[in-house]
């Protein structure tokens, strides 16, 4: 008579087994989900897909790659700051040099550039002569203000948000921009 000793059939005999299966399921779920930007609200229009984590190259957000960008000033809890034509907050990156962006790849996926297809329009409250553009390495055109390349933040899900204010990422801080053309550091 053959006697079964309970081994070799892969049946859960101990809590360890159940834990292992649970942990493996968690890994698979994480791998399949790849919702990497689930912080303070997702932004479905910021970055193109790329790799397993969804980040991609720099693309425009609210402005759209093929439209002419508008930059205006808006009154917020931080004071008067620059926003795009639809009211989304614009940021500058302290690591940037004048008219030169230091943000690409994963950085530009987290901080999508403010693109334009032509000369950006000055909305209310901004100085038109401070508006400009730079050509990026991927041949897109980025809006600048007082020689600061302008960006959105993936953590802003809509108008009136400025979750990127003061964030330290990719080696330097990010700030909203004042109509005078500087960083609003809150100091």
């Amino acid at each position: 008579m053959r006697v079964w000793n309970g081994r070799g059939l892969g049946l859960p005999r101990r809590p360890l087994v159940a834990l292992a299966v649970l942990a493996a399921a968690a890994v698979l779920a994480a791998g399949c989900g790849s919702d990497n930007n689930s912080g303070s609200g997702g932004n479905s229009s910021g970055s193109g897909g790329g790799g397993i984590y969804g980040g991609g190259g720099p693309t425009s957000t609210a402005g759209g790659a093929s439209s002419v960008a508008t930059v205006s000033a808006a009154s917020t809890s931080l004071g008067m700051i620059l926003v795009d034509g639809s009211g989304r907050t614009l940021y500058l990156f302290e690591k940037d040099q004048p008219n030169q962006s230091a943000c690409a790849g994963a950085c530009a996926a987290a901080w999508p550039v403010d693109q334009t297809s032509g000369t950006p329009k000055a909305g209310s409250g901004v100085t038109a002569s401070m508006l400009g553009t730079i050509k990026r390495s991927d041949n897109t055109t980025q809006v600048t203000y007082n020689k600061h390349p302008l960006y959105y933040f993936q953590g802003d899900s809509g108008t009136g948000q400025h979750n990127g204010q003061g964030v330290d990422a990719f080696g330097a801080k990010w700030y909203v921009v004042t109509p005078a053309g500087g960083a609003d550091t809150g100091a």
Partner: protein, 167 residues
């Protein structure tokens, strides 16, 4: 009790083999191995893909270089537990995953500045492509590799009394 063919077979089945791991089930073993390797693989891909954006964050060594090193180590540790699931392999996987998880949590929440040859990697946001996913994968790899290590540990064996001895 005299040893019959039946009792002899039972005794043989119950005696653990020398270095036989505790996780005898192939399903459990492969779940732990594949799960750990998959988690480390996710960690590796995210670090490798994000590395160029961090090349400019540098001291003696750049953050981009550290990301590439992490990716290579994660792949190596994942392969080790897949093809050679020994104690040293589980320890390596656990060390790689735990150190990566500790680093991402430290630099997410504490501004420690530059540390020796390491650059200032403080980044107080999860809004970086793959960062949160990678952290989850590292956490899962820590759990799975820890379980793999525990299950692989050779249990202490009590010698069986010879058959027929005792009352």
């Amino acid at each position: 009790m005299p040893e019959t063919e039946e009792t002899s077979r039972l005794r043989t089945a119950a005696v653990p083999l020398g270095h036989r791991p505790a996780a005898r089930s192939p399903i459990v073993s492969w779940t732990l191995r594949v799960g750990t390797a998959a988690a480390l693989g996710i960690d590796a891909v995210v670090h490798w893909q994000n590395a160029p954006a961090y090349d400019a964050v540098t001291a003696t060594i750049s953050q981009g270089a550290l990301f590439r090193a992490e990716a290579v180590l994660a792949v190596a540790a994942g392969l080790l537990v897949l093809v050679r699931p020994r104690t040293s392999s589980w320890v390596a996987a656990l060390a790689v995953a735990a150190s990566a998880l500790a680093a991402v949590l430290l630099y997410r929440y504490v501004d420690v500045g530059s540390l020796g040859p390491l650059p200032d990697m403080y980044e107080n946001t999860w809004q970086v492509p793959g960062k949160l996913l990678s952290a989850y994968a590292e956490g899962a790899a820590v759990v799975l590799a820890g379980l793999g290590l525990l299950s692989h540990r050779t249990p202490r064996r009590e010698p069986l009394p010879p058959v027929g001895s005792g009352p």
